[in-house]
Symmetry: C2
C-alpha cells in the first residue's frame, strides 16, 4: 500500500489522522525554520510541512528533493495556520514524520504549470510531462467522461456497440487509405478504415437495428492544421427509421451531453437574435440552402447576428458597374461599428483580398450616429440611395455595413469569412456559449470542375429525398437533387453528419451510374455490400460525430490535438517515439516488398 | 415512423391496440383458411395472422412473401387461440390490416435458425445473415454488455479510459508487427500496436494513475486455430500499487462481471475438492510452481480433480527401468474408471503418444471394485507395491490410475493433456461452471534452447520479486528468478495477465542486458520510454484481459470467432469482403514501394 489517500482529498475533517501520500514534488519553499513541499498527483495538491526545530534531519532531507521527484510521505494531518482557499486541501497540511524517495527526476525541460514555459514542439516531444499539467489532464478527463456518457446514453436507448474490423478492404473512392501489406497473402494489402461505413450498413442487413461504436478511423491526407491521420468517431446506424427519428435520437444524445458535461439545458443556448430561437424541446434546423444564403456556409455560427442581406434590388442600376455586373451583391451589418477608422476599414479590405478569401474588394457604408451616411461608393449613390440600402439591412445610426459582390456562391463564402472575422474582432465568439443546430437538405451531388463530373457530396449510399428521386433521370437537374442528409453544427463547426441510406438495389445502381461507376467498377468496390442488399436490407440511416472535435468544442478549445493523448504533428510524425521509422530488411523481405530508391 | 413496437414486446396487456411492426419474415404457414407469418427482429418474434375469409386479397398477398423479406405490418393485437409459452409474445398475434414490402430478399444460402444448416465457411461468407441468427446475435449482445460493465466498473474506480495511438513505432522484440507504409515519410513505416504497453507506462509517468482502455491490438502471426490477426484487449495500468492492490482491483472487476452477467457470486464457483476453496471474499491463488507441479500447466483447469500425484518415492527401485531412469514419475487418479476396457486404455495410450502430446507411453493401474489390482506393469510390481501406489493416489476401489514418466517439465505437460482428455471423456468440463483463480510468481526468464538465451517470460518491463533481484547478478541462477507477474485463469484458459513494472532505470538496464540487449539496441527500441523514466516514474503495475476470450468464456463457447462480428479466417482473410486484396499501382507509387516478383 503506497498511499492511504490521494493528494486531493484531505480536509479539515481529517485533522489528527495519520496518512501516507505519494506523488510528485510540485514545488518546495525553504523558509528557514520551516520547509514546505507541494505534493501533486492527478487528484490535487497537498502541502507537506517539515520543521527544522523538531526534526532537523528530515527537514534537511526534504530540502534536497528536486522538482518532479516521486516521493512518499507519512505524517499527521494538521490545520494550517495560513489557509489557501483556492484548493480543496487548502485548510490542512501534513506534519511529515517520514519521507521516501520513490524515484528521482531530472529537471523537466519545461515547467509543469497551467501556463507552461514550454513551446508546442517541446511539449509534444515530452508529452508524458505535458499530460502532468492540469489543462491537458482535464482535457483527457473530459474525453473520458464524454465517452462514458455517450456509451451509457446510447446503450440505454438499445444501441449495441459492435466492434468492426480495422484490417479491411481498400476502396479507391474517397480519401486516401492507409494500407497494410499482408505477409500471409503476398502482394495483397489490407486498408485501415476511413470509417466503418460499409460494416455498419451490413450490421443493419444483419438485423442489429441500433448500432454504435466509438471507433478509430484513418485518413492518409496531406495534413492541414488540426487534422490527424488517426481520429475517433462516434459512429451510429439505425434501421426502420426516417430522418425525423434519426434527428430526434441524436439531438437527444447531444442535449444529454450538454446537460451532463456543461450543465446546459435546451433554453440555455446562445442563438443570435435573427435566428429562430423557439423550438420547444428541439434543436433548430436550417436547410443547406438557407444556411448558404444567410451565412455563406454549410456550418453557420449562429451565436451572433450579421445574417447576410441581399442587395441586388436596391443597389443595381445606379451606374456602379461592379454591382451592376455582379450575380449577387450581399452584405452584413456590424452593429455599432460606424466609428471604424479608415485604417480599420482598409485592414478589412485587405482581409477579404487575401488569397485564402479571394474577394476583389469590399464596399462599406457607414450609418453615422448623426444620421448621415458615408460610403466607399458615394460617387454612385445619393444619401437617399444609401438610406434605402440601410433600410434593407435594418440598420440604425451607428452601424457599419460591409458589402461584397460577384458570383453568388463564391461571394457568399467570402462574406462568411468576413463575418467570422468581424465576430472575432467584436468578441462575439465566446467558446463557452453554444449554438447547436441541424443543417438539413444537403445537395445530393456536387459538381467538380477539375474532373468534370458529379461526386457524392456525402457518400454514394446517401439517399435522395423521395420527392427529388425522379430528377436522377434528368442529368441537367442533377445539381438540384436534395439528399436526405443532415449535419449537426455547433458554433460554426461540423460536429457530425449523416444521411438516410439507399436500401434499394435498383436505386443504388442508378446512383452508382450517376457517379460514373460502371457495373464492374461498382461491383469491384462495393460488391459484397450490394450482394448483402439482395438478402433483405431494411430501410436504414446513420450518422457519425467527430469525437475529437466534439471534445474540443465542449472543452472550449480550438485544436483537437489538445484532446488526444499522443497526437501526431503535421507531417504525421510522433516526435516523442520517433514514428514512423525505417524497418529492417528482414521485415521487408517477409512482406515481399521493396523500397523504391 | 416505421414501427410502433418491436417484435419482442407485445403481450396480453396490449390486446386491442393498433400497432405497426417491421421486420424479417422468419416463416409462414398456410393453413387454408388462415395464413400465419412469424415476423422477426432483433427483439423477438411476433405472429401475424391473415384470414382468407375476412380479407382474401391481403391473405393472398401475404402468401406470396418469401423468407427473409423485410415487411411492415399494421393491425390489431388480439389474443391467440393456441398460445405459445416458449416466447414472450406467445399469448398474442396481430390481426393484420395492411402489409407493405420494405425490401425483397433472395432465399438465403442457409437457414436463419438457431441450428443452421450452413457450414462455417458459408456462414462466414454471408456473415450479415449469420448475425441474424439468435446465437450469434446473443454473442454480440453479451460482448456489448460486458464492455459496458467493464467500463462502468473501472470508471467508478477512478480509472480513465485513454485512447492510445494505432499508428506507432515498430519494435522487433516480441511477435511480428503489422506495418503501415508512410506516404509522407517515404521509406518509413508505422506499426500497428501488439498492445499499448509502452503508452500505458508513459501514461503512468504522466500521472494518470489509473488507466484502462478496451483496445484493438494486432499480431502478424501464423494463425493457429482460434487466433485472430486483430483482437481486443481490456488494457489496464495503475500507479502507486503493489501486487496485492492490483490483484484486489481486478478480481473485483471479474467478480463484478460474474455477478452482473452470470448471476454468480464468490461462493458459486466450482473448484475441485482438492483445490483450496475457502478464501472469503477473495479468489484463490496458486503459484506458478504449484500449478505446474499439480496440474502441469500455468493455466490449470481446477473445476475438476485429478491433481497430479508424484510417485518417484514408491515406484523406483523395483526393476522397472523406465521408471528408474525417469526424472519424474507422475500420475492422475480417475475416480470410478477401473472398468475402463482394454480398448479404452489403448486409446488413451494412443492419445498420449500423439505427436501433439509426445509421451513415450502410459502405465495404468486399476484398483478393481473387489480390491484387487491390475496394471500394465504387473511384472515389476506386486499387489502390495500397487497398493502403496494406490495409497499415494488416495485411490479407492473402482478407481483408475494413469501414470507417465520422463523429464519433469515435459512429463507434466503431457500429463496435463491426458488430464484434460479424461475430464472431457468424463464430462467434467461444464462450460456453465466457472473456476477463476490467480496464478502468481511466474518465472521472470525463460530459456530458449534454439537461440541459447533467456527471454522475458512476460515482457522486458516486468519486475523481479525484490527478494530475487540479487540473482540477476548470478547468470547460473537466472532460471530461478521469480517475477512479480500474475495471470487470471478461468476454466483452464488464460483470461488475463500482468505484472509489476520496473520503474527504476538502473534495474531496467540490468534487465535489458540480461535479455541480450546492448545499450544501443535497447535505446533504439525503448529509448523514449527509458528517457521518460528519468523524469520521475512512479511505481506502477498493470494487466490486460483478452476481451474476445473473456466473452467466449462467459458465453460458454470455445471459439473467440463466435464473439467477433466480422472475424478473419485462418489465412487472415475476410472471405465476405475479399480482403486483403491487390491495390493499384498508383497507390504503390505514392507509397514508394514495389512488390517483389
Amino acid at each position: 500500500m503506497y498511499r492511504t489517500h490521494t493528494c486531493g482529498e484531505l480536509t479539515i475533517a481529517n485533522v489528527g489522522q495519520e496518512v501516507t501520500l505519494a506523488g510528485w514534488l510540485q514545488r518546495s519553499r525553504d523558509l528557514g525554520g520551516m520547509t514546505f513541499i507541494d505534493l501533486r498527483d492527478r487528484y490535487g495538491i497537498t502541502q507537506l510541512a517539515f520543521n527544522m526545530e523538531t526534526n532537523a534531519d528530515l527537514c534537511e532531507q526534504a530540502r534536497k528533493l528536486g522538482r518532479e521527484y516521486v516521493i512518499q510521505a507519512s505524517g499527521t494531518v494538521i490545520e494550517r495556520s495560513s489557509k489557501n482557499s483556492k484548493i480543496p486541501t487548502g485548510d490542512i497540511e501534513i506534519e511529515v514524520h517520514h519521507i521516501r524517495i520513490l524515484n528521482e527526476a531530472q529537471t523537466p525541460p519545461f515547467t509543469i504549470e497551467d501556463n507552461s514555459d514550454g513551446g508546442d514542439d517541446l511539449r509534444m516531444r515530452y508529452r508524458y510531462l505535458d499530460i502532468r499539467r492540469n489543462p491537458v489532464r482535464r482535457n483527457l478527463e473530459l474525453r473520458h467522461k464524454m465517452a462514458m456518457q455517450v456509451r451509457n446514453y446510447l446503450s440505454n436507448q438499445n444501441f449495441l456497440e459492435v466492434e468492426t474490423p480495422m484490417l479491411i478492404k481498400s476502396t479507391p473512392e474517397g480519401a486516401r487509405d492507409f494500407v497494410v501489406p499482408s505477409r500471409m497473402n503476398p502482394g495483397e494489402f489490407y486498408a485501415l478504415p476511413q470509417s466503418p461505413q460499409q460494416y455498419k450498413q451490413l450490421l443493419m442487413v444483419a438485423g442489429i437495428d441500433r448500432y454504435f461504436q466509438i471507433v478509430r478511423c484513418f485518413r492518409d491526407e496531406d495534413l492541414r492544421a488540426d487534422r490527424q491521420p488517426e481520429f475517433t468517431q462516434i459512429d451510429c446506424e439505425m434501421s426502420f427509421v426516417e430522418q425525423e427519428d434519426v434527428l430526434n435520437t441524436f439531438e437527444g444524445l447531444i442535449l444529454h451531453l450538454f446537460q451532463e458535461l456543461k450543465g446546459l439545458g435546451i433554453g440555455q443556448f446562445h442563438y443570435n437574435s435573427q435566428f429562430c430561437q423557439t423550438h420547444g424541446q428541439m434543436l433548430p434546423r436550417i436547410t443547406w440552402h438557407d444556411a448558404m444564403r444567410l451565412y455563406g456556409s454549410d456550418k453557420p455560427d449562429v451565436r451572433f447576428d450579421m445574417q447576410f442581406v441581399e442587395l441586388n434590388d436596391v443597389v443595381k442600376n445606379h451606374g456602379f458597374a461592379l454591382f451592376d455586373n455582379a450575380e449577387l451583391v450581399v452584405g452584413i451589418c456590424a452593429k455599432g461599428c460606424a466609428e471604424y477608422t479608415r485604417k480599420q476599414l482598409d485592414a478589412l479590405t485587405d482581409f477579404v483580398k487575401r488569397p485564402q478569401v479571394g474577394a476583389g474588394g469590399m464596399v462599406y457604408v457607414k450609418y453615422n450616429a448623426d444620421g448621415t451616411f458615408k460610403s466607399s461608393v458615394d460617387k454612385f449613390y445619393t444619401a437617399d440611395d444609401l438610406k434605402a440600402i440601410a433600410q434593407q439591412f435594418n440598420a440604425n445610426p451607428g452601424d457599419l455595413m460591409l458589402i461584397l459582390c460577384g458570383p453568388a456562391m463564391r461571394t457568399r463564402t467570402q462574406l462568411c469569412a468576413l463575418r467570422l472575422e468581424m465576430a472575432d474582432q467584436l468578441n462575439l465568439r465566446n467558446p463557452n456559449q453554444y449554438a447547436p443546430l441541424w443543417v438539413v437538405d444537403f445537395p445530393l451531388l456536387e459538381w467538380d470542375d477539375e474532373t468534370q463530373r458529379f461526386y457524392a457530396m456525402h457518400h454514394p449510399f446517401t439517399a435522395p429525398k423521395p420527392e427529388d428521386e425522379a430528377l436522377l433521370d434528368q442529368p441537367e437537374r442533377w445539381g438540384d437533387i436534395r439528399a436526405n442528409a443532415y449535419d449537426m453544427v455547433i458554433n460554426g463547426v461540423e460536429a457530425g453528419g449523416g444521411s438516410i441510406r439507399i436500401h434499394d438495389r435498383t436505386l443504388q445502381n442508378k446512383m452508382f451510374h450517376t457517379l460514373g461507376f460502371t457495373d464492374e467498377t461498382a461491383y469491384a468496390q462495393f460488391g459484397f455490400l450490394m450482394d448483402a442488399f439482395t438478402y433483405g436490407a431494411p430501410p436504414h440511416a446513420g450518422l457519425a460525430f467527430g469525437f475529437d472535435r466534439l471534445c474540443s468544442l465542449f472543452g472550449g478549445v480550438e485544436t483537437i490535438r489538445d484532446f488526444i493523448a499522443f497526437p501526431k504533428n503535421n507531417s504525421g510524425r510522433d516526435v516523442m517515439s520517433g514514428s514512423p521509422s525505417p524497418i529492417s530488411n528482414d521485415q521487408l523481405d517477409e512482406l515481399q516488398i521493396v523500397l523504391k530508391k
